[in-house]
Amino acid sequence: MSGQNIWDKLQNVDRRVFYWILFIALTVPFLSPIGLPITVTPSTQSYYDGLKSIQSGEVVVLSINSGVSAWGDCLPAMIASVHKVYDQGGKLIVWSIGYTDVDITWAKIKEKLPDVFSKWKEGENYVYFGYCPGQETNVALLATNIRAIYPKDVRGVSTDQIPLMKDINGANKIKFVLSSDTGDAQMYYIRQWKNGQVNYEKTGKPPTVAEMGIAMNKSGDMAYYLSGDEFGLVAGSRGAAELEALTGYKGDATITMDSISVSHVLLVLAIILTNISMFATRGKKK
């Protein structure tokens, strides 16, 4: 249209142009990763310190409450965490209270850690219970009676016959919970376990909670980390990349950081551009 300058045209660009630019910007960096350095934030460092405190034989719970859609943010952190639990000689109980596709996620974790799962024995070093819906009600029950929710594991073996679960039926035998979640699942553990009535036998205090969450949880759950209700918070693919740097396991999150760098710079440039055009057209209208 006549009378439109470059700033007016910029404000009226078809949004599909941006979608294509974004999609290409996110995809192409995977072809040749650069690997920029990553500095570690305090919340991720605390999470890692918590993993390092696991002593041989201690049991931790991995609660997978994130789906395949959140793999970019949560899966690398889960893989790094499981590897660290193995390194420390700990034992793992895995379950989910929130997502039906937990089987795929657990299969992916095992696929990515052949060195761990070739040595770990199911039933002795780790047990996988699968998914049972129920949210907070489920979590409250698990604190006192795991067998009520999971009478058997995914293989169909009765919980009573699993060596790892011989003396374990609640939070009193569990050191802490690693909750991978996209929303409120860690809150259920904070409410029902961390601030509940069941104490971990070794410390005399309730089991603690740490979170591997999506990036938005860095904002939403920072308050819980700072108040001490969570001992660690690994949020987003950035947090997962920091955890990978700490554990020495270079995984998908580190590779994704290049794509994130390009896309974020693109977005910042787009925001700066739109503000310049706003001020330019505003001056013109005056």
Binding site: F18, G67, I104, G134, G156, G170, M278
Partner: protein, 218 residues
């Protein structure tokens, strides 16, 4: 009188269940029969879980009704609704086979791994596009509030991306400060105010003032 079991008794049931949960949380160790495996609180929680598990059928019935209506009225979406019904039926049969025999048939596994997982991940990821175009069109520093929003957002964006540190060392420092300190007042306020609201709403629901949970009698 006939309305008591349709309304008042319902509130009493909800109140009693909630009261048992609250008793269990605060005094469970001191009151026998309330806390621990197999006792009242645990039993009620198991019952609530079972009721929740059985409720999915309602959603299924509703969806089937919606799509059946599309097919019977021969709308332009009828063909897609017919495909929905057929695919749903096939998958349900495969699932029932799995439940009956304990063995997961390969087509079920294949559909779960390649259809459900891929589509689920893709549908959630589509919001990435919209956030980009929304930021471009709406993220403008029109006033002080918007300017603060913008500045906070940009610094956190460049702190999250490793390239921010390469561009200028201050981006990760300031961005992480915003993440660890700057945003805490606002987020903590949301947490506290939200929790207070939940308490107020919960008590209102328990004394029968909030009736949104219960459908009205005709």
């Amino acid at each position: 009188m006939s309305q008591i079991y349709k309304r008042e008794m319902v509130f009493i049931v909800a109140g009693v269940v909630a009261f048992v949960m609250i008793l269990d949380y605060f005094f469970g160790k001191n009151i026998p029969g309330i806390s621990g495996a197999g006792n009242l609180s645990s039993t009620l929680q198991t019952w609530a879980l079972i009721i929740q598990l059985m409720a999915i059928g309602l959603g299924a019935i509703n969806l089937i009704q919606v799509h059946y209506r599309q097919i019977s009225r021969k709308t332009n979406m009828a063909l897609y609704s017919a495909w929905f019904m057929v695919f749903f039926a096939i998958l349900l049969l495969l699932g029932f086979y799995k439940l009956a025999t304990g063995v997961e048939p390969y087509p079920y596994t294949w559909i779960f791994a390649n259809v459900y997982v891929s589509l689920g991940a893709t549908l959630y990821a589509i919001t990435g596009f919209y956030i980009f175009s929304a930021a471009y069109r709406a993220f403008r520093a029109r006033n002080i509030d918007a300017a603060i929003l913008l500045i906070g957002g940009i610094f956190v964006l460049l702190a999250n991306a490793p390239i921010g540190e390469v561009i200028w060392g201050g981006f990760p420092l300031i961005g992480n400060w915003f993440n660890n300190v700057g945003q805490v007042p606002g987020m903590r306020t949301f947490t506290v105010v939200g929790a207070l609201g939940l308490l107020a709403y919960g008590f209102r629901a328990l004394i029968g003032k909030e009736r949104g949970f219960y459908s009205e009698v005709q």
